[in-house]
């Protein structure tokens, strides 16, 4: 099977800083890949290269086996790569349907210049409702402005919007960072649904419990390199944390690592 996304030898330099140093990454359809690493490890740079914000200095990106040059976010989107950043990029003053279609409105007639085309509001509302239904996202009022919705509902809308337009890869940057327990639950369920729908999903997260729950594979980066890969499980959490912080995993003290995975970072 061809991978949904393959990155080979990705290298990116900002001045004297080598942000990415020959990174390889592969993610398949129907798979959730967790991208882990401490701050400054290169995770954000890597996903920005995949989503067309940055261009690679060296290396290649293939989508569905085809080599592509992702020169801008629009090009990346055209190749079916959608990214949900931490700020969600939602329009608080618009309803979910308008948020879904902002910048890619369904409108006609075609012979008119784009700004003067008439919005197909009902069609966009129906399509949005369909996607939300399919992903089992329930909102108290699907026509209310997104600004009236809770943090979890907003996150879910942003993820659903990405899923609706991503034919290949959905990238989620810290999707549960700002959420409470129950709201995180809804987002994690949604990620699992994206996987069962056959999306390739890349998740950046610091919440080890969430990674363990939804990710099929965890890839750990440090100082611009991939330093290891693990199948996330309660047992491997300690090893993953050790990879992240770059210390040797101490077999003599697993309970410590198990109960407070973030512990070594503060040490």
């Amino acid at each position: 099977m061809t991978a949904a996304l393959t990155v080979r030898g990705a290298t990116k330099r900002f001045g004297a800083v080598l942000a990415l140093d020959g990174v390889d990454l592969e993610v398949n359809a129907g798979e959730v890949l967790a991208l882990l690493g401490d701050n400054g490890a290169g995770k954000s740079t890597l996903i920005k290269c995949i989503s067309g914000v940055h261009r690679l200095d060296a290396g290649s990106i293939e989508i569905g086996g085809e080599p592509v040059t992702l020169s801008s976010p629009a090009v990346a989107r055209a190749h079916g790569v959608e990214t949900v950043y931490q700020d969600l990029a939602l329009f608080d003053n618009l309803d979910p349907a308008s948020n879904f279609y902002a910048g890619r409105e369904q409108a006609g007639p075609k012979w008119m210049p784009r700004p003067l085309r008439v919005l197909r509001r009902q069609a966009m509302l129906n399509a949005t409702t369909d996607v939300l239904d399919r992903l089992q996202v329930t909102l108290p009022d699907a026509t209310a402005n997104v600004g009236l919705m809770s943090g979890g509902q907003r996150q879910v809308i942003a993820v659903a919007r990405a899923a609706a337009f991503a034919s290949n890869v959905v990238i989620l940057d810290e999707p549960t960072a700002a959420l409470g327990v129950r709201e995180s639950r809804r987002v994690l369920d949604l990620i699992l649904r994206l996987r069962s729908e056959g999306h390739a999903v890349i998740v950046i997260s610091h919440a080890m419990d969430h990674v363990t729950e939804v990710a099929d594979r965890a890839m750990v980066m440090r100082r611009g390199r991939v330093v290891g890969e693990e199948i996330p499980s309660p047992e491997s959490q300690g090893r993953i944390v050790a990879l992240i912080v770059g210390s040797a995993y101490e077999h003599s003290d697993p309970p410590h690592n198990r109960t407070s995975p973030q512990g070594p970072i503060t040490a």
């Binding site: 329009f91 784009r114 700004p115 008439v118 809804r186």
Partner: protein, 367 residues
């Protein structure tokens, strides 16, 4: 409410495959709790309060009109109503232009001066023997040109905020109007302009029809066209708009150009009423237009507001001024009252924001 019930009902059976194959056994739970939210008392109370606040400006305008009708027998006569409409027309057109700019988080301080320049240029062109339609086109073009300068310098000059460039054109454009006219009003305007500004059908001034026409056109742009959706997106979240492919720069230039064009329309109304192109026309009109937009209930922070808000605000200012004249209230009190109403309107917007915050918290608690 039936709308909200449907997806949840559809969701429950379908959720089982995911729930069975993964550790997310509770996935059916949140949707049931959200359903409960619709019947939650506080949730509904907050929703009702928000609805009232959104309707607030219309209710206040209706209240003002009823109060004036009780206080003054003249107020609702056709003659006086025609007066109010004629006096409010220029402000209303300006306010609609200002609304477009404020929707994108901007401000246009130059519209008052633009009225003066367009009026003076219109009068000069007329004196050189131009026909009515040509005069009108020239006046509109002058307005649009000032708007293009505002938008162009703001966007291409990469200014952090349009305040400064429109402050500059406020000064320079007024100066240009004074220069071109030698500081004196140019008496006499072409027939079409005079009737658009001063004529009426029975008691309804032509300018009121002009306002209705402009309102309908702009409302169509804002609610039905891709362009309007881009204006709201740009005001709601400029960074996200850029990322999702909205041509933010063109949108910004277009709203300043349209705002200038509408200042040209206001110039037609003003010089028609005066029967002259005066370099002092439209003095402080920019502040009236901003006040109208805010009083009418649009948000100064951008992204929220409709043509109705601008119209209601302009009418409110017109009714307050006219009503205080009829009641023989000291003329110096008028600006004070208008100032108080502006504070009231802004506080209402603050209240709206805090209610929305509590609404969000309540939803998070219920979900």
């Amino acid at each position: 409410m039936p709308d909200a019930a449907r997806p949840a009902a559809a969701a429950t059976p379908a959720s089982e495959p995911v729930a069975a194959g993964s550790p997310s056994g509770q996935s059916g739970g949140p949707s049931r709790r959200t359903q409960g939210g619709l019947h939650d008392g506080r949730y509904q109370l907050l929703q009702a309060a928000l609805r009232v606040i959104r309707l607030g400006p219309v209710l206040i305008l209706v209240g003002l009109i009823i109060a004036m009708w009780r206080l003054s027998p003249v107020f609702l006569t056709t003659g006086n109503a025609g007066n109010v409409l004629a006096q409010s027309a220029a402000i209303a057109v300006l306010a609609i232009g200002q609304l477009l700019v404020i929707l994108t988080r901007g401000i246009d301080l130059s519209v008052g001066s633009t009225i003066a320049l367009a009026s003076v240029v219109g009068a000069i062109v007329f004196r050189h023997g131009a026909d009515g339609p040509v005069v009108i086109l020239v006046m509109l073009a002058v307005g649009a040109a000032v708007g293009l300068v505002n938008g162009g310098v703001y966007v291409w000059g990469r200014l952090p905020h349009p305040f400064i460039i429109t402050l500059a054109t406020l000064s320079a454009v007024r100066g240009l109007a004074l220069q071109l006219s030698g500081g004196q009003p140019k008496r006499g305007v072409t027939g079409v302009v005079r009737s658009l500004g001063g004529g009426s059908v029975r008691w309804i001034p032509y300018s009121a029809f002009l306002v209705v026409g402009v309102s309908v056109l702009v409302a169509i742009v804002l609610t039905r066209l891709v362009w309007g959706r881009w204006i709201y997106a740009t005001g709601g979240n400029p960074e996200a708009a850029r990322r999702t492919g909205v041509p933010v720069k063109s949108v910004l230039i277009s709203v300043y150009a349209l705002c200038g064009l509408l200042a040209g329309v206001a110039a037609i109304i003003t010089s028609g009423r005066l029967n002259a192109g005066s370099p002092t026309s439209g003095n402080l009109a920019e502040l009236d237009s901003i006040a109208a937009v805010i009083i009418g209930g649009a948000s100064f922070l951008g992204g929220r507001g409709t043509v109705v808000n601008a119209l209601v605000g302009a009418l409110m200012i017109g009714v307050i001024r006219n009503g205080m004249n009829l009641l023989n209230v000291n003329a110096f009190l008028q600006p004070i009252v208008i100032g108080a109403v502006i504070v009231l309107a802004v506080e209402t917007d603050v209240l709206r924001a805090s209610l929305e915050e509590r609404f969000r918290v309540r939803q998070a608690e219920l979900s």
